[in-house]
Protein backbone atom coordinates (compact mmCIF):
# COMPACT_ATOMS: atom_id res chain seq x y z
CA UNK A 1 0.00 0.00 0.00
CA UNK A 2 1.29 3.45 -0.96
CA UNK A 3 2.21 6.13 1.55
CA UNK A 4 -0.90 8.26 1.59
CA UNK A 5 0.74 11.64 1.21
CA UNK A 6 2.79 10.49 -1.77
CA UNK A 7 -0.15 9.12 -3.71
CA UNK A 8 -1.34 10.80 -6.88
CA UNK A 9 -5.03 11.27 -7.55
CA UNK A 10 -4.92 8.53 -10.18
CA UNK A 11 -3.25 6.05 -7.81
CA UNK A 12 -5.71 6.82 -5.02
CA UNK A 13 -8.81 6.64 -7.20
CA UNK A 14 -7.55 3.43 -8.83
CA UNK A 15 -7.04 1.76 -5.44
CA UNK A 16 -10.46 3.05 -4.36
CA UNK A 17 -12.14 1.60 -7.45
CA UNK A 18 -10.48 -1.77 -6.91
CA UNK A 19 -11.49 -1.80 -3.26
CA UNK A 20 -15.12 -0.94 -4.09
CA UNK A 21 -15.12 -3.73 -6.66
CA UNK A 22 -13.88 -6.16 -3.98
CA UNK A 23 -16.59 -4.99 -1.60
CA UNK A 24 -19.26 -5.41 -4.29
CA UNK A 25 -18.19 -9.01 -4.85
CA UNK A 26 -20.83 -11.31 -3.36
CA UNK A 27 -17.94 -13.37 -1.99
CA UNK A 28 -16.70 -10.41 0.07
CA UNK A 29 -16.36 -11.58 3.63
CA UNK A 30 -18.13 -9.59 6.31
CA UNK A 31 -14.94 -9.90 8.34
CA UNK A 32 -13.04 -7.63 5.88
CA UNK A 33 -15.76 -5.02 5.71
CA UNK A 34 -14.55 -2.80 8.50
CA UNK A 35 -10.94 -2.60 7.26
CA UNK A 36 -12.06 -2.01 3.66
CA UNK A 37 -14.48 0.73 4.65
CA UNK A 38 -11.80 2.48 6.68
CA UNK A 39 -9.37 2.42 3.74
CA UNK A 40 -12.08 3.66 1.34
CA UNK A 41 -12.72 6.63 3.59
CA UNK A 42 -8.99 7.44 3.64
CA UNK A 43 -8.77 7.22 -0.15
CA UNK A 44 -11.90 9.34 -0.67
CA UNK A 45 -10.37 11.99 1.56
CA UNK A 46 -7.09 11.89 -0.36
CA UNK A 47 -8.90 12.21 -3.72
CA UNK A 48 -11.15 15.05 -2.60
CA UNK A 49 -8.21 16.84 -1.09
CA UNK A 50 -6.25 16.53 -4.36
CA UNK A 51 -9.15 18.11 -6.24
CA UNK A 52 -10.10 20.89 -3.87
CA UNK A 53 -7.30 21.69 -1.43
CA UNK A 54 -4.72 24.18 -2.62
CA UNK A 55 -1.09 23.12 -3.03
CA UNK A 56 0.63 26.37 -2.08
CA UNK A 57 4.08 25.04 -2.90
CA UNK A 58 3.06 24.28 -6.48
CA UNK A 59 1.40 27.70 -6.80
CA UNK A 60 4.66 29.31 -5.74
CA UNK A 61 6.72 27.35 -8.25
CA UNK A 62 4.38 28.24 -11.11
CA UNK A 63 4.29 31.91 -10.13
CA UNK A 64 8.09 31.96 -10.33
CA UNK A 65 8.06 30.38 -13.78
CA UNK A 66 5.40 32.79 -15.06
CA UNK A 67 7.39 35.80 -13.88
CA UNK A 68 10.63 34.61 -15.42
Amino acid sequence: MEENNEMTYTQAVTELEQLVQKMQDPQCSIDNLSAYTKRCKELLDICRKKLTAADEQLKQVLATIQQS
Partner: protein
Protein backbone atom coordinates in the same frame (compact mmCIF):
# COMPACT_ATOMS: atom_id res chain seq x y z
CA UNK B 1 -10.65 80.46 -44.79
CA UNK B 2 -14.42 80.68 -44.32
CA UNK B 3 -15.58 81.43 -40.79
CA UNK B 4 -18.70 79.57 -39.71
CA UNK B 5 -21.63 81.94 -39.78
CA UNK B 6 -23.41 81.40 -36.48
CA UNK B 7 -26.48 83.33 -37.52
CA UNK B 8 -27.06 82.06 -41.06
CA UNK B 9 -27.53 78.56 -42.37
CA UNK B 10 -24.27 76.56 -42.15
CA UNK B 11 -22.40 75.93 -45.36
CA UNK B 12 -22.66 72.12 -45.05
CA UNK B 13 -25.34 69.54 -45.79
CA UNK B 14 -26.55 66.90 -43.35
CA UNK B 15 -24.81 63.52 -43.28
CA UNK B 16 -28.03 61.84 -44.34
CA UNK B 17 -28.21 64.07 -47.37
CA UNK B 18 -24.58 63.25 -48.14
CA UNK B 19 -25.23 59.55 -47.69
CA UNK B 20 -28.26 59.86 -49.94
CA UNK B 21 -25.99 61.22 -52.66
CA UNK B 22 -23.74 58.17 -52.26
CA UNK B 23 -26.80 55.97 -52.47
CA UNK B 24 -28.02 57.68 -55.62
CA UNK B 25 -24.57 57.50 -57.22
CA UNK B 26 -24.17 53.82 -56.44
CA UNK B 27 -27.67 52.97 -57.58
CA UNK B 28 -27.10 54.85 -60.81
CA UNK B 29 -24.11 52.70 -61.82
CA UNK B 30 -25.33 49.54 -63.50
CA UNK B 31 -21.81 48.04 -63.32
CA UNK B 32 -22.32 47.68 -59.58
CA UNK B 33 -25.30 45.37 -60.10
CA UNK B 34 -25.35 41.70 -61.08
CA UNK B 35 -21.58 41.67 -61.44
CA UNK B 36 -19.59 38.43 -61.21
CA UNK B 37 -16.71 38.85 -58.71
CA UNK B 38 -13.83 36.56 -57.72
CA UNK B 39 -13.19 36.65 -53.98
CA UNK B 40 -12.54 34.57 -50.90
CA UNK B 41 -15.05 34.09 -48.12
CA UNK B 42 -14.03 34.91 -44.59
CA UNK B 43 -15.89 34.81 -41.26
CA UNK B 44 -18.97 33.31 -42.86
CA UNK B 45 -21.87 33.02 -40.46
CA UNK B 46 -25.65 32.62 -40.27
CA UNK B 47 -27.84 34.79 -38.09
CA UNK B 48 -31.04 33.75 -36.39
CA UNK B 49 -33.22 34.96 -39.26
CA UNK B 50 -31.37 32.66 -41.66
CA UNK B 51 -29.45 35.44 -43.41
CA UNK B 52 -25.86 34.55 -44.25
CA UNK B 53 -23.12 37.14 -43.69
CA UNK B 54 -19.53 36.90 -44.83
CA UNK B 55 -16.49 39.01 -45.59
CA UNK B 56 -15.36 38.85 -49.19
CA UNK B 57 -11.58 39.29 -49.31
CA UNK B 58 -8.79 39.40 -51.87
CA UNK B 59 -5.14 38.68 -51.15
CA UNK B 60 -1.98 39.39 -53.05
CA UNK B 61 0.75 36.87 -53.85
CA UNK B 62 2.34 37.32 -50.40
CA UNK B 63 -0.95 36.50 -48.69
CA UNK B 64 -1.70 39.99 -47.50
CA UNK B 65 -5.34 41.04 -47.67
CA UNK B 66 -5.65 43.80 -50.27
CA UNK B 67 -9.42 44.18 -50.54
CA UNK B 68 -12.34 43.49 -48.25
CA UNK B 69 -16.10 43.89 -48.54
CA UNK B 70 -18.96 42.82 -46.31
CA UNK B 71 -21.49 40.64 -48.10
CA UNK B 72 -24.86 39.12 -47.37
CA UNK B 73 -26.98 36.35 -48.80
CA UNK B 74 -30.58 36.91 -47.77
CA UNK B 75 -32.34 33.96 -46.19
CA UNK B 76 -34.70 33.52 -49.15
CA UNK B 77 -31.77 32.99 -51.50
CA UNK B 78 -29.37 31.30 -49.05
CA UNK B 79 -30.91 27.84 -48.87
CA UNK B 80 -31.05 27.69 -52.67
CA UNK B 81 -27.38 28.73 -53.04
CA UNK B 82 -26.32 26.52 -50.11
CA UNK B 83 -27.83 23.45 -51.76
CA UNK B 84 -26.52 24.38 -55.18
CA UNK B 85 -23.00 24.75 -53.77
CA UNK B 86 -23.19 21.59 -51.67
CA UNK B 87 -24.52 19.53 -54.56
CA UNK B 88 -21.79 20.70 -56.92
CA UNK B 89 -18.75 20.70 -54.57
CA UNK B 90 -19.73 18.18 -51.91
CA UNK B 91 -18.87 20.83 -49.36
CA UNK B 92 -20.79 23.24 -47.23
CA UNK B 93 -20.34 26.89 -48.14
CA UNK B 94 -17.94 28.10 -45.45
CA UNK B 95 -15.17 30.39 -44.48
CA UNK B 96 -11.91 30.24 -46.44
CA UNK B 97 -13.37 29.34 -49.80
CA UNK B 98 -12.44 31.03 -53.02
CA UNK B 99 -15.70 31.85 -54.73
CA UNK B 100 -17.11 33.31 -57.88
CA UNK B 101 -20.20 35.26 -56.85
CA UNK B 102 -22.71 37.44 -58.56
CA UNK B 103 -23.16 40.58 -56.45
CA UNK B 104 -25.07 43.84 -56.34
CA UNK B 105 -24.04 46.80 -54.27
CA UNK B 106 -26.30 47.72 -51.37
CA UNK B 107 -26.00 50.98 -49.52
CA UNK B 108 -27.83 52.14 -46.44
CA UNK B 109 -27.33 55.59 -45.03
CA UNK B 110 -27.13 54.19 -41.47
CA UNK B 111 -25.47 50.80 -41.97
CA UNK B 112 -23.13 51.67 -44.80
CA UNK B 113 -22.11 49.64 -47.80
CA UNK B 114 -22.08 45.97 -48.48
CA UNK B 115 -22.82 43.71 -51.39
CA UNK B 116 -25.70 41.32 -51.72
CA UNK B 117 -24.82 37.99 -53.24
CA UNK B 118 -27.36 36.99 -55.87
CA UNK B 119 -25.74 33.85 -57.17
CA UNK B 120 -22.69 31.67 -56.78
CA UNK B 121 -20.74 29.66 -59.33
CA UNK B 122 -19.81 26.47 -57.50
CA UNK B 123 -17.64 25.21 -60.32
CA UNK B 124 -15.04 27.66 -59.04
CA UNK B 125 -12.54 25.86 -56.90
CA UNK B 126 -11.93 25.98 -53.24
CA UNK B 127 -10.17 29.05 -51.93
CA UNK B 128 -6.44 29.37 -51.38
CA UNK B 129 -6.82 29.32 -47.62
CA UNK B 130 -8.58 25.98 -47.63
CA UNK B 131 -6.21 24.50 -50.21
CA UNK B 132 -3.19 25.63 -48.23
CA UNK B 133 -4.73 24.18 -45.08
CA UNK B 134 -5.32 20.92 -46.88
CA UNK B 135 -1.71 20.85 -48.04
CA UNK B 136 -0.49 21.25 -44.46
CA UNK B 137 -2.84 18.54 -43.23
CA UNK B 138 -1.73 16.20 -46.01
CA UNK B 139 1.89 16.77 -45.08
CA UNK B 140 1.20 16.10 -41.38
CA UNK B 141 -0.66 12.95 -42.37
CA UNK B 142 2.11 11.80 -44.66
CA UNK B 143 4.64 12.32 -41.88
CA UNK B 144 2.45 10.26 -39.54
CA UNK B 145 2.27 12.92 -36.85
CA UNK B 146 -1.21 14.39 -37.34
CA UNK B 147 -2.86 12.25 -34.61
CA UNK B 148 0.03 12.06 -32.16
CA UNK B 149 -1.25 14.67 -29.71
CA UNK B 150 -4.78 13.29 -29.93
CA UNK B 151 -3.44 9.90 -28.85
CA UNK B 152 -1.85 11.24 -25.66
CA UNK B 153 -3.94 10.30 -22.64
CA UNK B 154 -5.31 13.17 -20.58
CA UNK B 155 -4.80 12.77 -16.85
CA UNK B 156 -8.08 11.94 -15.12
CA UNK B 157 -8.28 15.48 -13.76
CA UNK B 158 -6.02 18.01 -15.53
CA UNK B 159 -5.34 20.58 -12.79
CA UNK B 160 -1.90 21.95 -13.68
CA UNK B 161 -2.44 24.07 -16.78
CA UNK B 162 0.19 25.75 -18.94
CA UNK B 163 -1.55 28.56 -20.81
CA UNK B 164 -0.39 30.09 -24.06
CA UNK B 165 -2.23 33.35 -24.61
CA UNK B 166 -1.78 37.09 -24.74
CA UNK B 167 -1.63 38.64 -21.31
CA UNK B 168 -4.48 41.11 -20.93
CA UNK B 169 -6.48 39.61 -23.79
CA UNK B 170 -10.19 39.18 -23.19
CA UNK B 171 -10.00 35.50 -24.02
CA UNK B 172 -7.34 34.87 -21.37
CA UNK B 173 -9.34 36.84 -18.78
CA UNK B 174 -12.51 34.89 -19.60
CA UNK B 175 -10.61 31.63 -19.23
CA UNK B 176 -9.08 32.54 -15.87
CA UNK B 177 -12.35 33.90 -14.45
CA UNK B 178 -14.22 30.81 -15.50
CA UNK B 179 -11.57 28.40 -14.24
CA UNK B 180 -10.63 29.99 -10.92
CA UNK B 181 -14.20 31.07 -10.16
CA UNK B 182 -15.60 27.58 -10.51
CA UNK B 183 -18.27 27.03 -7.85
CA UNK B 184 -17.18 23.47 -7.02
CA UNK B 185 -14.05 24.36 -5.07
CA UNK B 186 -11.90 22.66 -7.70
CA UNK B 187 -8.25 23.69 -7.55
CA UNK B 188 -6.42 24.60 -10.75
CA UNK B 189 -2.81 25.68 -11.02
CA UNK B 190 -2.18 27.95 -13.99
CA UNK B 191 0.95 29.41 -15.50
CA UNK B 192 0.75 31.86 -18.38
CA UNK B 193 3.31 31.67 -21.16
CA UNK B 194 2.80 34.94 -22.97
CA UNK B 195 2.53 34.97 -26.77
CA UNK B 196 1.19 37.19 -29.51
CA UNK B 197 -2.00 35.66 -30.75
CA UNK B 198 -2.51 37.36 -34.10
CA UNK B 199 -0.48 38.63 -36.98
CA UNK B 200 3.02 37.80 -38.07
CA UNK B 201 4.40 37.32 -34.52
CA UNK B 202 1.93 34.53 -33.72
CA UNK B 203 4.01 31.56 -34.91
CA UNK B 204 7.40 32.53 -33.40
CA UNK B 205 5.94 33.57 -30.02
CA UNK B 206 3.69 30.52 -29.68
CA UNK B 207 6.60 28.23 -30.65
CA UNK B 208 8.80 29.95 -28.03
CA UNK B 209 6.10 29.46 -25.39
CA UNK B 210 5.82 25.76 -26.28
CA UNK B 211 9.59 25.43 -25.87
CA UNK B 212 9.48 26.98 -22.40
CA UNK B 213 6.62 24.68 -21.35
CA UNK B 214 8.54 21.72 -22.69
CA UNK B 215 11.41 22.59 -20.35
CA UNK B 216 9.02 22.33 -17.36
CA UNK B 217 6.73 19.63 -18.69
CA UNK B 218 6.78 17.54 -15.47
CA UNK B 219 4.97 20.43 -13.72
CA UNK B 220 1.97 20.36 -16.05
CA UNK B 221 -0.94 18.12 -16.98
CA UNK B 222 -1.78 19.87 -20.23
CA UNK B 223 -1.34 22.97 -22.41
CA UNK B 224 -4.13 25.37 -23.30
CA UNK B 225 -3.76 27.66 -26.32
CA UNK B 226 -6.44 30.35 -26.21
CA UNK B 227 -7.43 33.62 -27.77
CA UNK B 228 -10.72 35.40 -28.27
CA UNK B 229 -12.61 34.89 -31.49
CA UNK B 230 -12.27 37.18 -34.46
CA UNK B 231 -12.67 37.33 -38.14
CA UNK B 232 -11.39 34.23 -39.82
CA UNK B 233 -8.92 36.18 -41.85
CA UNK B 234 -7.16 36.95 -38.58
CA UNK B 235 -6.81 33.26 -37.79
CA UNK B 236 -4.68 32.62 -40.86
CA UNK B 237 -1.55 32.69 -38.77
CA UNK B 238 -2.63 29.48 -37.06
CA UNK B 239 -2.69 27.66 -40.39
CA UNK B 240 1.03 27.10 -40.18
CA UNK B 241 2.96 23.88 -40.70
CA UNK B 242 5.68 24.50 -38.06
CA UNK B 243 3.14 25.37 -35.41
CA UNK B 244 0.90 22.41 -36.25
CA UNK B 245 3.84 19.98 -36.34
CA UNK B 246 5.09 21.23 -32.98
CA UNK B 247 1.67 20.93 -31.32
CA UNK B 248 1.09 17.51 -32.87
CA UNK B 249 4.31 16.17 -31.39
CA UNK B 250 4.11 18.00 -28.07
CA UNK B 251 4.60 15.64 -25.08
CA UNK B 252 1.61 17.07 -23.16
CA UNK B 253 -1.98 17.03 -24.44
CA UNK B 254 -2.90 20.39 -25.96
CA UNK B 255 -6.30 22.04 -25.74
CA UNK B 256 -6.96 24.62 -28.44
CA UNK B 257 -9.61 27.30 -28.10
CA UNK B 258 -8.67 30.01 -30.56
CA UNK B 259 -11.83 30.90 -32.40
CA UNK B 260 -15.45 30.19 -32.91
CA UNK B 261 -17.07 27.05 -34.14
CA UNK B 262 -17.08 28.12 -37.77
CA UNK B 263 -13.35 28.83 -37.72
CA UNK B 264 -11.35 25.65 -37.97
CA UNK B 265 -7.60 25.99 -38.33
CA UNK B 266 -4.95 23.35 -38.87
CA UNK B 267 -4.19 23.65 -35.16
CA UNK B 268 -7.71 22.48 -34.38
CA UNK B 269 -7.04 19.29 -36.35
CA UNK B 270 -3.86 18.35 -34.52
CA UNK B 271 -4.68 19.39 -30.93
CA UNK B 272 -5.56 16.71 -28.39
CA UNK B 273 -8.75 18.58 -27.61
CA UNK B 274 -10.48 21.31 -29.61
CA UNK B 275 -13.01 23.70 -28.15
CA UNK B 276 -14.69 26.78 -29.58
CA UNK B 277 -13.69 29.46 -27.11
CA UNK B 278 -11.42 30.09 -24.09
CA UNK B 279 -14.52 29.89 -21.90
CA UNK B 280 -15.32 26.49 -23.37
CA UNK B 281 -11.76 25.36 -22.62
CA UNK B 282 -12.23 26.33 -18.97
CA UNK B 283 -15.62 24.65 -18.92
CA UNK B 284 -14.14 21.45 -20.27
CA UNK B 285 -11.42 21.43 -17.59
CA UNK B 286 -13.98 22.12 -14.86
CA UNK B 287 -16.16 19.34 -16.27
CA UNK B 288 -13.29 16.86 -15.83
CA UNK B 289 -13.07 17.95 -12.19
CA UNK B 290 -16.81 17.78 -11.52
CA UNK B 291 -16.94 14.40 -13.24
CA UNK B 292 -14.19 13.25 -10.89
CA UNK B 293 -16.05 14.64 -7.86
CA UNK B 294 -19.24 12.94 -9.05
CA UNK B 295 -17.29 9.72 -9.52
CA UNK B 296 -15.98 10.00 -5.96
CA UNK B 297 -19.56 10.47 -4.71
CA UNK B 298 -20.60 7.39 -6.68
CA UNK B 299 -17.75 5.42 -5.17
CA UNK B 300 -18.72 6.61 -1.70
CA UNK B 301 -22.31 5.55 -2.31
CA UNK B 302 -21.03 2.24 -3.64
CA UNK B 303 -19.08 1.68 -0.42
CA UNK B 304 -22.16 2.40 1.69
CA UNK B 305 -24.31 0.17 -0.49
CA UNK B 306 -21.74 -2.62 -0.46
CA UNK B 307 -21.53 -2.55 3.33
CA UNK B 308 -25.31 -2.51 3.67
CA UNK B 309 -25.73 -5.29 1.11
CA UNK B 310 -23.09 -7.50 2.65
CA UNK B 311 -24.54 -7.12 6.14
CA UNK B 312 -28.12 -7.61 5.03
CA UNK B 313 -27.07 -10.61 2.96
CA UNK B 314 -25.39 -12.15 5.99
CA UNK B 315 -28.52 -11.43 8.02
CA UNK B 316 -30.69 -13.03 5.36
CA UNK B 317 -28.47 -16.09 5.35
CA UNK B 318 -28.77 -16.36 9.09
CA UNK B 319 -32.54 -15.89 8.99
CA UNK B 320 -32.80 -18.49 6.28
CA UNK B 321 -30.89 -21.08 8.25
CA UNK B 322 -32.89 -20.26 11.38
CA UNK B 323 -36.13 -20.69 9.51
CA UNK B 324 -34.88 -23.89 7.95
CA UNK B 325 -34.42 -25.75 11.28
CA UNK B 326 -38.09 -26.55 12.10
CA UNK B 327 -38.86 -27.30 8.49
CA UNK B 328 -35.90 -29.63 8.24
CA UNK B 329 -36.84 -31.40 11.46
CA UNK B 330 -40.41 -31.76 10.27
CA UNK B 331 -39.25 -33.13 6.98
CA UNK B 332 -37.06 -35.74 8.63
CA UNK B 333 -39.94 -36.81 10.90
CA UNK B 334 -42.36 -36.91 7.97
CA UNK B 335 -40.00 -38.97 5.88
CA UNK B 336 -39.53 -41.52 8.64
CA UNK B 337 -43.24 -41.62 9.40
CA UNK B 338 -43.97 -42.42 5.77
CA UNK B 339 -41.36 -45.14 5.78
CA UNK B 340 -42.88 -46.58 8.97
CA UNK B 341 -46.39 -46.47 7.49
CA UNK B 342 -45.20 -48.19 4.37
CA UNK B 343 -43.52 -50.91 6.41
CA UNK B 344 -46.66 -51.41 8.52
CA UNK B 345 -48.77 -51.69 5.40
CA UNK B 346 -46.37 -54.25 4.01
CA UNK B 347 -46.60 -56.64 7.03
CA UNK B 348 -49.98 -58.32 6.12
CA UNK B 349 -49.02 -58.48 2.50
CA UNK B 350 -45.75 -60.12 3.35
CA UNK B 351 -47.43 -62.47 5.88
CA UNK B 352 -50.12 -63.48 3.39
CA UNK B 353 -47.44 -64.17 0.91
CA UNK B 354 -45.57 -66.40 3.33
CA UNK B 355 -48.70 -68.28 4.37
CA UNK B 356 -49.80 -68.83 0.79
CA UNK B 357 -46.36 -70.01 -0.03
CA UNK B 358 -46.31 -72.53 2.82
CA UNK B 359 -49.86 -73.63 1.99
CA UNK B 360 -48.84 -74.39 -1.55
CA UNK B 361 -45.86 -76.36 -0.32
CA UNK B 362 -48.16 -78.25 2.07
CA UNK B 363 -50.64 -79.02 -0.68
CA UNK B 364 -47.85 -80.29 -2.83
CA UNK B 365 -46.66 -82.51 0.05
CA UNK B 366 -50.20 -83.83 0.63
CA UNK B 367 -50.56 -84.61 -3.03
CA UNK B 368 -47.25 -86.41 -2.96
CA UNK B 369 -48.28 -88.45 0.12
CA UNK B 370 -51.44 -89.72 -1.70
CA UNK B 371 -49.30 -90.75 -4.64
CA UNK B 372 -46.83 -92.57 -2.42
CA UNK B 373 -49.64 -94.36 -0.56
CA UNK B 374 -51.30 -95.38 -3.83
CA UNK B 375 -48.05 -96.77 -5.10
CA UNK B 376 -47.41 -98.64 -1.83
CA UNK B 377 -51.01 -100.02 -1.79
CA UNK B 378 -50.64 -101.18 -5.34
CA UNK B 379 -47.43 -102.91 -4.50
CA UNK B 380 -48.97 -104.61 -1.42
CA UNK B 381 -52.00 -105.65 -3.40
CA UNK B 382 -49.82 -107.32 -5.95
CA UNK B 383 -47.84 -109.09 -3.23
CA UNK B 384 -51.07 -110.28 -1.58
CA UNK B 385 -52.35 -111.50 -4.92
CA UNK B 386 -49.15 -113.45 -5.37
CA UNK B 387 -49.45 -114.96 -1.86
CA UNK B 388 -53.10 -115.79 -2.46
CA UNK B 389 -52.22 -117.50 -5.66
CA UNK B 390 -49.55 -119.47 -3.86
CA UNK B 391 -51.94 -120.31 -0.99
CA UNK B 392 -54.56 -121.42 -3.40
CA UNK B 393 -52.02 -123.60 -5.09
CA UNK B 394 -50.93 -125.09 -1.77
CA UNK B 395 -54.39 -125.45 -0.18
CA UNK B 396 -55.53 -129.17 0.70
CA UNK B 397 -58.75 -128.56 -1.19
CA UNK B 398 -56.90 -128.39 -4.44
CA UNK B 399 -54.93 -131.61 -3.51
CA UNK B 400 -58.16 -133.33 -2.48
CA UNK B 401 -59.73 -132.28 -5.81
CA UNK B 402 -56.98 -134.04 -7.59
CA UNK B 403 -58.05 -137.31 -5.91
CA UNK B 404 -56.10 -137.26 -2.71
CA UNK B 405 -57.79 -137.87 0.65
CA UNK B 406 -57.01 -136.53 4.04
CA UNK B 407 -57.00 -139.00 6.92
CA UNK B 408 -57.53 -137.83 10.44
CA UNK B 409 -57.54 -139.63 13.69
CA UNK B 410 -59.28 -137.49 16.21
CA UNK B 411 -58.07 -134.02 15.57
CA UNK B 412 -54.85 -135.05 14.09
CA UNK B 413 -53.90 -135.63 10.51
CA UNK B 414 -52.46 -139.08 9.86
CA UNK B 415 -49.41 -138.84 7.69
CA UNK B 416 -47.85 -142.24 8.46
CA UNK B 417 -49.30 -145.80 8.54
CA UNK B 418 -47.83 -146.56 11.94
CA UNK B 419 -49.86 -143.78 13.50
CA UNK B 420 -52.94 -145.98 13.32
CA UNK B 421 -53.76 -149.38 14.66
CA UNK B 422 -56.34 -151.87 13.92
CA UNK B 423 -59.65 -150.94 15.22
CA UNK B 424 -58.95 -147.21 15.34
CA UNK B 425 -61.69 -144.96 14.24
CA UNK B 426 -60.55 -142.61 11.47
CA UNK B 427 -62.09 -139.99 9.31
CA UNK B 428 -61.35 -139.75 5.60
CA UNK B 429 -61.98 -136.49 3.99
CA UNK B 430 -62.44 -136.17 0.21
CA UNK B 431 -62.74 -133.21 -1.94
CA UNK B 432 -66.41 -133.48 -1.52
CA UNK B 433 -67.65 -134.90 1.73
CA UNK B 434 -66.15 -137.13 4.49
CA UNK B 435 -66.45 -140.76 5.48
CA UNK B 436 -65.78 -142.45 8.81
CA UNK B 437 -63.90 -145.68 8.66
CA UNK B 438 -62.34 -148.34 10.91
CA UNK B 439 -58.79 -149.57 10.48
CA UNK B 440 -58.40 -153.23 9.91
Amino acid sequence: MNQPNLFNQPNGITLSEFNSRIERTLNGDTQLFNQWVIAETSDLRLNRSGHCYTELIEKDARGETVAKMGAAIWAGNYSKLYNKFLKATGQVLATGMKVLVNVSVSYHRLYGMKVVINDIDPSYTMGDMERQRQEILNRLKAEGIIDMNKQLPFPQVPQRIAIISAEGAAGYGDFMNQLLGNPYGLQFYTCLFNAVMQGAQTVPTVLAALDRINAHQELFDCVVIIRGGGATSELNSFDNYDLAANVAQFPLPVIVGIGHERDVTVLDYVAGKRVKTPTAAAEWLILQGTNALAHLNELQDAVVTAVRDTVSQAREHLAYFTSMIPATARRIIDTNRIRLDNNAKNIPVAANGLIANQRTRLNHAVERIGDVIAVAMQRERQRLQALEDKATLLSPDNTLKRGYALVRKGDKCVTAADQVHSGDQITVQFAVGTTDATVN
